[in-house]
């Protein structure tokens, strides 16, 4: 975590005092809030106080520089009030957070935290202000209706992510990533929280069952390679055209040179 410490070193010496003060206020406030929010989000009730404290420490050390000590946000990062456990689990679980560098969009890296730490961070953020919770495992089994999922995917997601989830370009260097190999939880959370340039698909827009179906469809594609053979990145006609020119015509020209060379 070299870069977090570099960030920390840049802080004003008084900042530490301030941080502790804010930390105390936040924990106190968190306590008070907790009793009223446990009913709102299913998983906060299950998480113990120690987990939340652990999450708070991790947050203060790794996230607060950008998101502020009480999630209020800074010039370097948005407020996390109300983003919920789902957003944290997605952002940290896919390695997007803590963000490494400012760019068109936060890039994915190998996750920096263990599953327990991620859960602790999520519990902490959710404990401060409720928001979308981590989805129920029953929705993530990939046992829904793939046909419905496929149609919903083509209508709602393919314009950015490509029909086969191969990814696609957005404006100004932003892009929608490839979706193969993404964990079912993260797919669900991405729809629920709309990371960065992705729209939010709330439960009125796509019901939990619809989301389950979309996951079912994506997992079907992932587990059933193309019956036609190598997929060439599922990029469509561009990849096919390049392949036809370079390998198809290339092979044939090689044969032509060979055939005519033999006679001389």
């Amino acid at each position: 975590m070299a870069r977090t410490s570099r960030k920390a070193n840049r802080r004003h010496p008084l900042a530490t005092v301030l941080l502790i003060a804010i930390g105390l206020v936040v924990t106190g406030g968190g306590y008070a809030l907790l009793s009223s929010t446990t009913t709102a989000t299913a998983d906060t009730s299950a998480t113990s106080q120690e987990t939340i404290e652990e999450g708070q420490k991790l947050f203060a050390a790794n996230c607060a520089t950008c998101h502020g000590m009480s999630l209020e946000g800074t010039a370097d990062g948005p407020s996390l009030i109300g983003v919920g456990a789902a957003a944290v689990n997605f952002q940290v679980g896919t390695g997007r957070m803590p963000m490494a560098m400012q760019g068109p969009q936060a890039m994915q890296k190998p996750p920096q935290f263990t599953d327990e730490q991620t859960a602790a961070l999520a519990a902490y953020v959710a404990s401060i202000s409720p928001g979308p919770a981590i989805p129920d495992p029953s929705l993530l089994q990939g046992d829904g209706d793939a046909t419905n999922g496929g149609e919903l995917f083509r209508i709602n997601c393919a314009m950015c992510h490509n029909v086969h989830g191969a990814g696609g370009a957005l404006t100004e260097g932003k892009f929608a990533p490839e979706l193969t190999g993404v964990a079912a939880t993260h797919i669900y959370e991405a729809m629920l929280t709309g990371p960065q340039n992705m729209p939010v698909f709330n439960d009125d827009n796509l019901t939990p069952e619809d989301k389950r179906d979309i996951i079912t469809y994506l997992k079907y594609l992932e587990n059933n390679p193309s019956p036609g053979g190598v997929e060439l990145g599922s990029l469509g006609p561009v990849a096919e055209g390049l392949f036809a020119w370079i390998f198809g015509l290339g092979a044939i020209i090689g044969l032509m040179v060979w055939l005519t060379a033999k006679s001389n």
């Binding site: 496929g150 083509r154 029909v163 404006t171 260097g173 469509g236 006609p237 561009v238």
Partner: protein
């Protein structure tokens, strides 16, 4: 090798007729029976004695022809199962994620071909890969003909026929791509619909006529099918036949070389050597296509799903041969559309469409332009090496660069994601490339050609550097230059240069505007030129002997 004289018909009767064997058995009897009733042996003999010179690039047209044969064979198979109807059905085939989905009968049958008919997917993929290859082979064959000047008199008309085939092939490809009525091709059709609607005044009318009402309607697939399997293939076959008749009539061109003149063709007679080779080559091409189809997915319509006008996938592109048109549309900056006189003027569509038509038009008539500029009325059967026609090669390089820019623009989104660039910067870079690139390519190609010609001249006159350094008794070091052999020399000196035309009054004593234009073009074409080494220069060069040394290089130079 066999030489055939171009002028004398009698030379072609020399071979003995296939003897009606005394006891040739059934085959001979049957052949005889047929020949007596059709006189076919004359045709076979005539055709079989055609000479085909051997150079790998002369087989590119054949690749196109063979791909077309493969397309016809595999396409015929597909017609047995494909249903060109837009009637709504519920899919009930083997591909699970589409089960229960409403779709057109066309899509349904294309999916059935893919998953429920034995060998169907393989044949579909053969058909599509062969189509991509077909047009690629035509394109590269055209480039070969262009850069070697094979389109010159008497072959200008055959160039136009070939060009027509190229356009027909693109139309074949596009209509075929649209038939399965999947999401990808539906979006492609929608773009065509947009292009048509962009034509001022009549666009909407034409679109309604074509689609039988508002897009997409329920008629278009059936109409495209008729075009795809009936009208266009008939035209392609007719034009291929014409094209080949012309090839036989003109006889094949050849590169310069010892014994090769404007009056002969050196190579193998079609029967038996060439036919055997060509037959074998057909199976090689088929083999390559079959391997591609067996191992590599093409157009996975099951991923695209049935056409529905609302969704559009990221990375929606046409097949490669329509890419240049898609790219041209993508390169137009925003804001070129406005309302004037109660009509919408879509210059974002009119301009690229016109640009493409001009590009294609120039390709079609280039032989006539060059013929007019040179004023050369002679027949040309010896090919140019591209370097020996620097301006033509430069123009070709400019055209290729322009086309490549449009082509790249069609994949701007994929370039952006794969090289982690922003879509806007890719688009701007390609805009600059399309405008400036052709000039740069023209200039560089022309200079390179002239440089190569200078080098050739140098080699002919003084031999090439052997890399062998010899120390003379006096202590002087020289590099030995070796003379090229006679065969090589032919290649290097057998070309013609044109000089710029002079401005002269015509028979009425007037200087017309077109004459001025012609002189100006001629100057542009032929101002920079390197004459081939003449006989006298050659003889002077040989005087030096094998150890001739015009350049004396010290050891430190290497």
């Amino acid at each position: 090798m066999t030489t055939i004289e171009r002028s004398d018909a009698p030379a072609e009767v020399a071979a003995p007729a296939p003897a009606p064997a005394k006891s040739g058995g059934f085959t001979a009897a049957a052949a005889n029976y047929i020949d007596e009733r059709t006189s076919i042996s004359g045709v076979v003999k005539e055709f079989g004695r055609k000479i085909f010179p051997d150079h790998w690039s002369f087989m590119l047209g054949e690749v196109a022809l063979y791909s077309f044969v493969i397309i016809i064979l595999s396409g015929t198979f597909l017609t047995f199962f494909f249903q060109a109807s837009m009637a709504e059905v519920t899919y009930n085939g083997s591909w699970a994620p589409l089960k229960g989905m409403e779709m057109s009968a066309a899509m349904d049958s294309a999916l059935k071909i893919s998953f429920d008919i034995r060998g169907g997917l393989l044949v579909r993929q053969i058909h599509h890969w062969a189509a991509l290859l077909f047009i690629a082979a035509i394109g590269i064959h055209m480039l070969r003909v262009y850069f070697t000047g094979a389109f010159r008199k008497p072959r200008e008309l055959n160039w136009v026929i070939g060009f027509t085939l190229f356009v027909l092939a693109m139309a074949e490809g596009f209509t075929g791509y649209s038939l399965p009525d999947d999401l990808l091709s539906g979006n492609g059709l929608r773009i065509i619909d947009g292009l048509i609607k962009g034509i001022p005044f009549v666009g909407t009318w034409i679109s309604f006529l074509l689609f039988g009402g508002e897009f997409p309607g329920t008629a278009i697939i059936g109409r495209l099918y008729t075009l795809h399997i009936l009208l266009l293939p008939a035209l392609v076959v007719a034009f291929i036949a014409l094209h080949l008749v012309f090839v036989v009539v003109h006889k094949h061109t050849q590169f310069a070389g010892g014994g090769r003149t404007q009056k002969n063709v050196i190579g193998y007679p079609i029967l038996p050597v060439y036919a055997a080779k060509a037959g074998g080559f057909f199976f090689l091409v088929f083999g390559v296509v079959a391997l591609m189809a067996a191992f590599f997915t093409i157009n996975p319509i099951w991923n695209y799903g049935p056409y529905d006008p609302s969704p559009v996938s990221a990375g929606t592109q046409p097949d490669w041969y329509i890419g240049f048109a898609d790219g041209a549309l993508r390169l137009i900056p925003p804001g070129w559309e406005f309302v004037w006189l109660d009509h919408t003027w879509s210059f974002n569509i009119i301009v690229p469409v016109l640009a493409l038509l001009v590009l294609l038009g120039l390709v079609a008539v280039y032989p006539f332009i060059e013929g007019w500029v040179t004023g050369d009325k002679r027949e040309h059967h010896i090919l140019d090496r591209p370097r020996n026609a620097p301006t033509r090669t430069g123009i070709g390089a400019a055209g290729v660069t322009f086309y490549a820019g449009l082509w790249a623009a069609a994949s701007s989104d994929i370039i952006a994601t794969h090289f982690q660039l922003s879509l806007e910067s890719v688009t701007h870079a390609i805009q600059a490339w399309v405008i400036l690139g052709p000039f740069l390519a023209y200039f560089v190609a022309k200079r390179v050609c002239i440089g190569l010609m200078k080098k050739d001249r140098e080699i002919v006159l003084h031999g090439y550097e052997s890399g062998r350094i010899v120390r003379l008794p006096g202590g002087e070091y020289i590099e030995v230059h070796e003379q090229v052999d006679d065969y090589e020399r032919w290649k290097l000196v057998d070309y013609e240069v044109y000089e710029p035309l002079m401005l002269r009054p015509n028979s009425q004593g007037k200087i017309t505007g077109s004459a001025r234009l012609r002189v100006r073009l001629s100057k542009w074409f032929f101002e920079d030129r390197i004459a081939p080494a003449s006989r006298t220069e050659l003889e002077a060069g040989h005087g030096h002997g094998a150890a001739a040394h015009d350049e004396i290089e010290g050891p430190g130079h290497h």
